[in-house]
């Protein structure tokens, strides 16, 4: 398996209030081919930040360093801004966690998808692009795509916004797709359909997928392997199917916090975080 993406020792630092720096991601390693890799972990553990650094779209004051970061032969550390721009949205696609922020609030949904299509294929006519955009919305299970194409982002529901973001990335047919919490606002039936679509793209287009989610059940059903992050570090790496037999107490704690249908209506167990988790962990 040739590596599609290689990350060695990725570290992200933010300037701290009183001076000095704070590490938000600490030495993350990831080598992946054309497979489905899940990243789970609690809020603030650095999942999105890792993803953002791969695309070079982290906040201006974030300092992102790594020993190596390569995507299919391209060195992401030395790539020019221009190369990065063409990779983003082209060969690497990312569905951001906060769809409503990532969409332009004053441009219609349809125009935004069409723009994405025409960025990838400059020869396509506006009309064909429009038709393609419409079909893509239909395939992400949006009812009445024609109406939704004419709406502004604040006029669609939370879950529809999320699916519009997915559509925008899908139309570019990337080689590597980073999906950050793409199904968090979707009901189970629609989410199942989106996952089918993702799965199909991974197999048909031979795409690599980084699937960030806090839904452990979903990740264990959908992905090939899973990285568990805590405080900026990968504490456990495990085959997705074995997630329920995870060894690390943190992973076990995450699994225990989930409510269940028909479960008791007592207070849910909450995670008791241990200081030692910050330092130990699989380097993978």
């Amino acid at each position: 398996m040739s590596a599609l993406l290689t990350i060695e020792d990725l570290t992200v630092a933010f300037p701290r209030d009183g001076g000095g720096e704070e590490l938000a991601v600490r030495g993350v390693n990831l080598t992946m081919g054309r497979e489905k890799v899940g990243i789970v972990g609690e809020s603030g553990s650095g999942k999105s930040l890792t993803a953002r650094c791969i695309l070079g779209v982290q906040a201006v004051h974030a300092r992102c360093t790594a020993r190596a970061m390569r995507f299919d032969g391209v060195d992401l550390l030395t790539a020019t801004p221009r190369q990065m721009r063409s990779l983003r949205g082209g060969r690497i696609g990312m569905v951001m966690q906060d769809p409503r922020h990532a969409l332009d609030p004053v441009q219609r949904i349809g125009d935004q998808i069409v723009e994405a299509i025409r960025l990838g294929d400059r020869k396509i006519s506006r009309r064909d692009a429009w038709a393609k955009a419409r079909n893509m919305l239909e395939s992400v299970e949006i009812r009445e795509p024609d109406r939704v194409m004419r709406l502004y982002p604040h006029e669609v529901s939370g879950g529809m916004g999320q699916r519009v973001m997915i559509a925008i990335v899908f139309v570019r047919e990337p080689d590597l797709l980073i999906a950050d919490e793409v199904t968090s606002a979707l009901d189970v039936t629609v989410s199942a359909r989106i996952l089918e679509l993702l799965d199909e793209m991974v197999t048909r287009r031979n795409m690599g997928l980084i699937f960030i989610s806090h839904d452990l059940n979903l990740v264990s059903r959908f992905c090939d392997r899973v990285l568990v992050m805590y405080a900026g570090r990968v504490v456990e790496e495990i085959a997705a199917a074995d997630l329920h037999n995870a060894q690390h107490p943190y992973t076990q704690g995450l699994l225990a916090c989930m409510p269940q249908i028909g479960g008791p209506q007592e207070p849910l167990p909450v995670l008791q975080r241990q200081e030692s988790w910050r330092e130990e962990g699989a380097g993978a």
């Binding site: 300037p15 701290r16 209030d17 009183g18 070079g56 004051h61 974030a62 992102c64 990065m84 609030p105």
Partner: protein, 296 residues
């Protein structure tokens, strides 16, 4: 979640922390620092002109007419024997005055018009934006010229004329920003607190417009300086003997081939200052524009 080093004890401290983070990020941009330096230089020159000057800016000295730059006249002297260095120093006061007057009138007007029309929409928006379009449709310099021609030349009139042409882009910008935030949930949350539209606009919408306004204003300062100098040059701005840079170039253009410094020195000052504001604007945009991203 990472805890910050020491918990903050007041809102002021929080604002300062934010400011210092901003300052630290700003310092990483060398061109921005150059711009800031030039801007500060202009302000210092204006404040301390009487102490930094080597001559009287107005008193003619026919013995020393059109002297080239040297030990006596650092940047040379003009056709009345006045020291150009001194006049540029004093001229910075006029430049700064015009810039400040224009910014402090046009930015609030534009902000007000844009925010009101963006927030309320409907016919209010239609009316206000048509007015804005009318002003935008007329070329800037032409409008300023017509205005000064009516009111008569002078610094204040020149500044007002520039204001007249400068506010419409601010209105556009503020309207766009307002449109982008007016349906945001954080604005809805304040509506649900029962706040009046005036309070929502003043306390919650306007702060969201300020950073892009600031970037725009900084860029515009360069343009304002050029237009002010342009008006001075054609005799509609500051009147002689005021040491306005544009007017100084105008008086020097007769000697441009033989006594180049008379026109070139104030020209260089204009160039330097407008370059500075452009650099500053670029740096601010990199930091404040949420869509701009960068890898270090």
């Amino acid at each position: 979640m990472s805890e910050t080093a020491a918990p903050r004890a007041s809102a002021l401290q929080a604002r300062l922390a934010e400011l210092s983070r901003f300052a630290r990020a700003f310092r990483r941009n060398p061109l921005g620092m150059v711009g800031l330096f030039i801007g500060l230089l202009l302000i210092l020159a204006a404040i301390f002109a009487p102490w930094l000057a080597t001559h009287d800016p107005y008193a003619p000295d026919f013995g020393g007419r059109l002297t080239p730059p040297g030990a006596e006249y650092w940047l040379g002297s003009d056709e009345l024997g006045r020291d150009i260095y001194t006049r540029i120093l004093y001229g910075s006061r006029i430049t700064l005055f015009i810039v400040a007057l224009v910014i402090f009138t046009s930015a609030p007007i534009g902000l007000f018009m844009g925010v009101i029309s963006g927030y309320f929409g409907g016919w209010i928006d239609a009316v206000l934006m048509r007015i804005t379009d009318v002003f935008l449709a007329v070329p800037k310099l032409l409008l300023a010229l017509a205005f000064v021609a009516v009111l008569g030349p002078g610094i204040v009139n020149a500044a007002l004329a520039i204001t007249l042409t400068a506010w419409p882009p601010y209105a556009r910008l503020a309207r766009a920003e307002t449109l982008a935030v007016r349906n945001a949930d954080y604005i809805n949350a304040i509506r649900l607190a029962g706040a009046s539209p005036i309070r929502i606009i003043a306390r919650h919408v306007v702060p969201m417009c300020t950073s892009s306004m600031l970037v725009r204003v900084t860029f515009d300062m360069a343009g304002i300086i050029l237009i002010a100098a342009g008006l001075g040059f054609i005799g509609l701005g500051a009147q002689p003997p005021l040491p306005e840079w544009g007017a100084m170039i105008a008086s020097g253009r007769r000697f441009i081939f033989d006594q180049w410094w008379v026109a070139a020195m104030p020209g260089a000052a204009i160039f330097l200052v407008s370059l500075g504001f452009n650099l500053l604007g670029d740096a601010l945009r990199d930091l404040l524009d949420p869509h701009a991203v960068r890898r270090t």
